[in-house]
Symmetry: C2
Subunit: 123 residues, 2 copies
């Protein structure tokens, strides 16, 4: 295993918020071996937890895929700073991928959701 | 046209944030007639702008589909309050659909994004 995928969600103290992200992550976690979900703040496991776990199991490369629709301050500043700290602390290499919402597949999925919604709403 | 779809994004003063949401919305806007994007705050058009435009064109029913991965305080409190105000102001009916991230299609799309990401990252 050369590269461990971390699906990074924002996190919230609201359990329902985290459950939605866990559902969103499930198809990926089932399809991609050694992939994990982690939260930026306010929920567990934290990014540090997951990197530490990986290191304990011999991983030294990680790719963070943000479960965010777009990049705002968190992805432009906060997460890169967290990555720098973790790379130094654990002597690992962590790549930050673009947020999932920047991939056109998400736009197509949203179209599917809206068409489904319309079919349910129209009388 | 009985029901106008509004894709509601959070909004930001960062133009790149809004561009990402405009790209995300494009397949839907092209596929669904009388659909629009609107921002909750910090960007235009606002929700009020889009409802006012619809009313001027004869619409009286709207469905808001939140371009959010999960429901937090904004979707549980702020947006319902905005809807109440707009329904009274314009004498219209506005339905709030679940955030797109609660639909399993998004989880499948995220899996696709990650598999694509992996193919690019693995050396």
């Amino acid at each position: 295993m050369s590269n461990r995928i971390i699906l990074l969600a924002h996190g919230s103290s609201d359990k329902r918020w985290c459950e939605t992200f866990e559902h969103l992550a499930t198809p990926t976690l089932e399809a991609v071996s050694d992939s994990r979900i982690a939260y930026m703040e306010l929920a567990e496991p934290s990014l540090d937890d997951i990197v530490a776990e990986g290191v304990a199991e011999g991983a030294y490369r990680f790719t963070i895929v943000p479960l965010f629709l777009a990049a705002g301050r968190h992805l432009r500043k906060d997460v890169p700073a967290m990555i720098k700290t973790l790379e130094e602390r654990y002597q690992v290499r962590i790549e930050l991928a673009p947020p999932v919402g920047e991939n056109p597949q998400l736009g197509e999925a949203i179209k599917g959701v809206v068409l489904h919604q319309l079919a349910e709403t129209d009388e």
